[in-house]
C-alpha cells in the first residue's frame, strides 16, 4: 500500500517538475546549467550535506521526541481550542467534495512539488545564493520545528472534534494515512511544518520574483493553499499555521544572514574532485 502511494507521488511530482522546467526555467538556463553544474554543485554541497544529516537525524529523533515530550513538554491542545475553537469549524462549513479533493491533492502532491521544484529551479541559476539560502532555510525549519515539537504537545482539530472536523482526507482517501504516518506523529501539530516549509518557499519565491516571475505567481498561491489545506483537512489549528508562518519568516531571515558568512568553499577553497575531472 505504502509503496503504491509513494510511487504515485513520485510520478506526479516528476511530471509537475518537468512541466515546471519547461515553463518556468526555460531552455537557456538549462543550457548554462549543463555547462556549470559541477561548480554549482560544489557550492551547494556543504549545506546539502548538513540538510541530509539533519533529515536523517530528524527521522531518528522523531521516534524519541514523543516520549520526551510526554515527560517534559507542555500539553497545549485545550488552550489552543479555548482560544480559537470555532475557526476550523467555520472553515470546514465550506466543505464540498471538489474542495476536499483539491486540498487533499495540494496537501500531498502540491506540497511535495512546492518543496522539490525550487531546488531544481534555483540550481538552474548561475548565482547559487538562492539555492543555498533555500537549503539553509529548509534545514533551519527542521531543526527549529523539532525543538518546538519537543516542547509542545498538541493534538490537531480532527483529534479534538472528530464528529465536526471530519478528518476529510484520511476517510475519503484512507491510503494517504500510510504516507503521512511515516512522517508525522499526531502530537506534533504545533507549529505546522507543512505551512512553514511552504511559506519558506513562498517567501523566497517572492524575493526571487525578478528572476522567476512565473514561479512567484505559482508558488505564492500554492503556499497559501497548502496552509489553508492543513486547516481545511482538520490537521492543524489556525494557531499552528500562524506559528508556521512565523517560523518560516525567521528561517528565511536567518538563512539570509548565515549564507555567505560561513561559506566553507570560499574560506578553505576545498578542492572538489568533480572540478578536477573537468
Amino acid at each position: 500500500m505504502l509503496v503504491q502511494v509513494l510511487l504515485q507521488l513520485a510520478v506526479v511530482v516528476t511530471l509537475l517538475t518537468l512541466a515546471g522546467i519547461a515553463v518556468i526555467v526555460g531552455r537557456y538556463r538549462l543550457r548554462d546549467t549543463r555547462r556549470e553544474w559541477a561548480s554549482r554543485l560544489r557550492a551547494a554541497t556543504p549545506i546539502t550535506v548538513v540538510l541530509i544529516v539533519v533529515l536523517l537525524g530528524n527521522g531518528v529523533a522523531r521516534q524519541v521526541v514523543p516520549d520526551l515530550s510526554w515527560m517534559f513538554g507542555w500539553n497545549l491542545t485545550w488552550a489552543i481550542y479555548d482560544i480559537e475553537g470555532q475557526f476550523i469549524l467555520w472553515l470546514q462549513s465550506f466543505e464540498t467534495s471538489a474542495l476536499t479533493a483539491f486540498f487533499s491533492f495540494v496537501y500531498i502532491y502540491g506540497y511535495v512539488f512546492l518543496l522539490v521544484f525550487p531546488v531544481v529551479a534555483y540550481f538552474a541559476l548561475s548565482n547559487t545564493r538562492p539555492l543555498r539560502e533555500l537549503l539553509t532555510a529548509y534545514t533551519l525549519n527542521y531543526v527549529l520545528g523539532l525543538v518546538l515539537y519537543t516542547l509542545v504537545i498538541a493534538y490537531g482539530p480532527r483529534n479534538m472534534m472528530p464528529e465536526l472536523v471530519e478528518a476529510l482526507m484520511y476517510d475519503t482517501y484512507p491510503r494517504y494515512q500510510h504516507l503521512t504516518r511515516q512522517v508525522n506523529r499526531n502530537t506534533n501539530v504545533f507549529p505546522s511544518l507543512h505551512t512553514s516549509l511552504a511559506a519558506t518557499v513562498g517567501i523566497l519565491a517572492y524575493q526571487t520574483r525578478a528572476v522567476y516571475p512565473r514561479w512567484a505567481v505559482v508558488a505564492v498561491p500554492l503556499a497559501i493553499s497548502v496552509a489553508i489545506s492543513t486547516m481545511y483537512l482538520g490537521i492543524h489549528w489556525a494557531i499552528d499555521v500562524v506559528a508556521g508562518i512565523v517560523l518560516a519568516y525567521v528561517c528565511v531571515e536567518l538563512a539570509g544572514l548565515l549564507v555567505g558568512r560561513w561559506s566553507v568553499t570560499e574560506r578553505f577553497d576545498v578542492g572538489n574532485p568533480l572540478s578536477r575531472l573537468r
Partner: protein, 582 residues
C-alpha cells in the same frame, strides 16, 4: 470594633489615662484582630475547576466525544472545565499509575464475571497503582459485599451481587455510561470459524480453520502499543486484545464466560481448596520445562513483584484481584498443585486464567527498576516496567519479530500441547500470525477488502459501521461485549469524595442520547458495569436510567433542575459559578 468610641481623641491626657488608653487599645486591637482573623481565615470558596482526562480521536474517537459532552454539561451547571487529551499509554499512566486526574472518560476492560468489581473498587487497593481501584474509592459496606460475593456460589452469589450493584448505583464511584458493540471485519474466503469464540480471546484465533494453502493469518490492528511492549503485567500497554494470551498460557481458559481446562489437565474444588493437575511435558518457547514451580512462582509474582513476603507488597497493575484470592499454594511434585483460596468455586476457577510466566526469566525481574540519576517510585520493579521483548511463554504461538509501530509477527509453537493427538483442544491452524499495525479503522478495513489482511483485530470505531459493505469474500463480525464506557471520579479529591456530588453529576448525562449521537446507536446505555445476565431487574435499562435519571430529555439538560440538585446536595452558586471548597 465598638471599643473605639471610648477613646476620645484630641485632648491632653494624664499618664495614667495614657496607660489605661494603651491597655484599652490593646484590648480593642485584640478583639479587632480576632474578628479580622475569623473573617480572613475562612478560605475563599472558589469556582470548581476540573480537568477531564481522555484519549484523542486517534486513540478513542467515542471517548473524546463523550468527554466533550461531559465538559459541556458541567460547564452548563457552572463548573470550569478543561479536557486533557493523552496518548493511549499516557492516559492509562495518568489514571492508573499516578492517579493524576479529577475526572476521566474511557473504556473499562470490565469482565464477563462481575468479580472484576472486587479489584476495581475494594478499598484496600485505593493506594495501589493499576486497574485495582483507580478511583481511590473506600466504602466499608461495599467491601463487605465484594468479599461476600467471592465466597458465595449460585443463587446466593446472585443475591449478594444484586445488593452490591444497588449500593454501587446509589454511590456512583464511577458512572457507567454504555456498553459499546464490538464489530470487526473479516475475510471469509481464507478462514472459516470466525465468531466460534470471542476474537478478543485466544480461542477466537485458535478456532479458525485455514483454507487450503493458507499458512498465514494476517490481522490489521489499529493500536500500535502491542508492537511497543509485550509485557502481560504492564497496564498502560494492554488492551482488549488476544495476542499475549496466544504467547502465554494460563491454567484455564474462558469460553462464553465458562472456564475450561487449558494448561491444567483438570481440577477439583472442595471448600476453598483447588487441586490442579498440569499437563505433562509442557515446555516454554526456549525449551525449558514448565512445571508446578513455575505456576507457583507466577502467582507469587502476581501478588508481589518484589517476591518478598514483606509487609508492603508491590503488586502488578493487572491481575491483582485474581491473585488476591490465593491464600497459599502447595506444590506437590512436578505436576500437582494445591491452591488455598479465599473464594467460592465460581471465582476460584477464574483465578486459573492468569498468565503462567517462566520462573527462570522473571526471577531477576523482581528487582526495582533503575534509571540512572532518577529516583524510581517504590514498587516499580523490573517486572512491571520491562518491555518484555522477546516474550518467552509456553503458548501456541511464539514470538517471531517486530518493528515498532509497524508489525508484530508470531510463529506457531509446534511443541504446544494443543498439537498432541490425545488433546482435544483447538490448535493453531497457521504457521504464522502477523499483526500489522494500521492506525485507522477505515484503512484497516481497506486492508481486509484488498486481501492484505484477514481481520481488523481491534474493535472498529462505530462511525465506519454504516458504510461496511459485505462482499462475497468479506463479512462484518459482531461479538458479545463486556467492556463499558464510564466516567471515573478521583474520589481522593474534593468534591468527588462526596456521593451526593457524584450522583448529581451522573444525572447530567443523557446516556440514551449519547448512545445515539456518539455511537450511532451501536452501544447500549447502562446503569450497571456488569453484563446483562448479572444485572438485577431493578437496574435494567427501561428507556431511562433506573438509578440516576437524566435532568432533562433528548440531550437537552434542564439546567435549572440540575443546579438545584447541586444546591440540594449542599453546594452553592455565586454569579452562576458552582463554588466548591477544595
Amino acid at each position: 470594633m465598638t471599643d473605639e468610641k471610648t477613646a476620645s481623641p484630641g485632648r491632653p491626657r494624664s499618664r495614667r489615662a495614657v496607660l489605661a488608653g494603651t491597655a484599652g487599645l490593646a484590648v480593642a486591637t485584640s478583639g479587632c484582630v480576632r474578628q479580622v482573623r475569623t473573617v480572613v481565615n475562612r478560605d475563599a470558596v472558589d469556582q470548581l475547576s476540573v480537568t477531564i482526562v481522555t484519549l484523542p480521536a486517534d486513540g478513542d474517537r467515542e471517548g473524546i466525544r463523550l468527554a466533550r459532552e461531559v465538559a459541556a454539561v458541567l460547564e452548563a451547571v457552572g463548573v470550569d472545565v478543561s479536557v486533557d487529551m493523552r496518548s493511549n499509554e499516557e492516559f492509562l499512566r495518568a489514571i492508573l499509575i499516578n492517579h493524576e486526574f479529577d475526572l476521566y472518560v474511557g473504556r473499562h476492560p470490565g469482565g464477563t464475571d462481575p468479580d472484576f468489581l472486587y479489584e476495581a473498587l475494594h478499598s484496600v487497593y485505593a493506594e495501589e497503582s493499576g486497574w485495582q481501584n483507580p478511583f481511590g474509592y473506600a466504602n466499608l459496606q461495599l467491601d463487605d459485599l465484594l468479599e461476600a460475593q467471592r465466597l458465595a456460589d449460585g443463587e446466593e452469589r446472585e443475591a449478594v451481587m444484586a445488593e452490591l450493584l444497588e449500593e454501587l448505583a446509589r454511590e456512583q464511584p464511577f458512572v457507567p455510561i454504555c456498553v459499546p458493540e464490538e464489530h470487526r471485519f473479516v475475510r471469509t474466503d481464507r478462514f472459516d470459524g470466525w465468531g466460534e469464540a470471542h476474537p478478543a480471546t485466544r480461542l477466537g484465533y485458535l478456532e479458525l480453520e485455514a483454507g487450503d494453502d493458507v499458512d498465514r493469518l494476517r490481522t490489521a490492528h489499529t493500536d500500535a502499543r502491542i508492537s511497543e511492549n509485550l509485557n502481560p503485567l504492564t497496564a498502560e500497554y494492554r488492551d482488549h486484545e488476544p495476542f499475549l494470551e496466544l504467547v502465554y498460557d494460563s491454567l484455564a481458559t474462558e469460553r462464553d464466560s465458562e472456564i475450561e481446562p487449558w494448561l491444567a489437565e483438570d481440577w477439583t474444588y472442595d471448600d476453598g481448596t483447588l487441586r490442579v493437575r498440569l499437563r505433562e511435558d509442557c515446555r516454554f518457547h526456549d525449551d525449558e520445562p514448565l512445571d508446578a514451580d513455575d505456576v507457583e512462582f507466577s502467582y507469587r509474582l502476581l501478588q508481589d513483584t518484589e517476591l518478598e513476603d514483606g509487609e508492603s507488597p508491590s503488586p502488578p497493575p493487572r491481575y491483582r484481584g485474581l491473585a488476591a484470592a490465593v491464600d497459599a499454594i502447595d506444590v506437590d511434585g512436578e505436576l500437582d498443585l494445591e491452591f488455598e483460596l479465599d473464594a467460592g468455586e465460581a471465582v476460584a476457577e477464574r483465578v486459573l486464567t492468569a498468565p503462567i510466566l517462566p520462573e527462570h526469566i522473571w526471577t531477576e525481574r523482581a528487582a526495582p527498576a533503575t534509571v540512572r540519576g532518577v529516583s524510581v517510585a517504590q514498587g516499580a520493579t523490573e517486572a512491571v516496567t520491562v518491555d518484555n521483548v522477546p516474550p518467552v511463554g509456553s503458548g501456541p504461538f511464539r514470538f517471531g519479530s517486530r518493528t515498532e509501530r509497524e508489525h508484530v509477527t508470531l510463529e506457531r509453537f509446534d511443541d504446544h500441547f494443543t498439537r498432541r493427538e490425545d488433546v482435544d483442544l483447538p490448535e493453531a491452524s497457521v504457521e504464522e500470525l502477523r499483526i500489522q499495525i494500521d492506525p485507522r479503522s477505515t484503512s484497516a478495513i481497506e486492508l481486509v477488502s484488498t486481501d492484505s489482511a484477514d481481520i481488523t483485530s481491534a474493535i472498529l470505531e462505530t462511525y465506519v459501521l454504516d458504510d461496511l459493505e459485505p462482499a462475497p469474500e468479506t463479512a462484518p463480525l459482531e461479538s458479545p461485549s463486556w467492556t463499558f464506557y464510564h466516567l471515573g471520579f478521583n474520589t481522593r479529591r474534593a468534591p468527588f469524595a462526596n456521593a451526593r456530588f457524584r450522583r448529581a453529576v451522573a444525572r447530567l448525562l443523557d446516556k440514551d442520547w449519547l448512545v445515539e449521537d456518539v455511537f450511532h446507536g451501536y452501544a447500549a446505555p447502562t446503569a450497571t458495569p456488569v453484563t446483562e445476565e448479572w444485572t438485577p431487574e431493578e437496574l435494567a435499562w427501561n428507556g431511562e436510567d433506573p438509578a440516576t435519571p437524566f435532568f432533562g430529555s433528548d440531550g437537552e439538560l434542564d439546567v435549572e433542575a440540575a443546579r438545584e440538585a447541586f444546591e440540594d446536595a449542599g453546594f452553592s452558586y455565586d454569579d452562576g459559578a458552582l463554588r466548591v471548597r477544595r
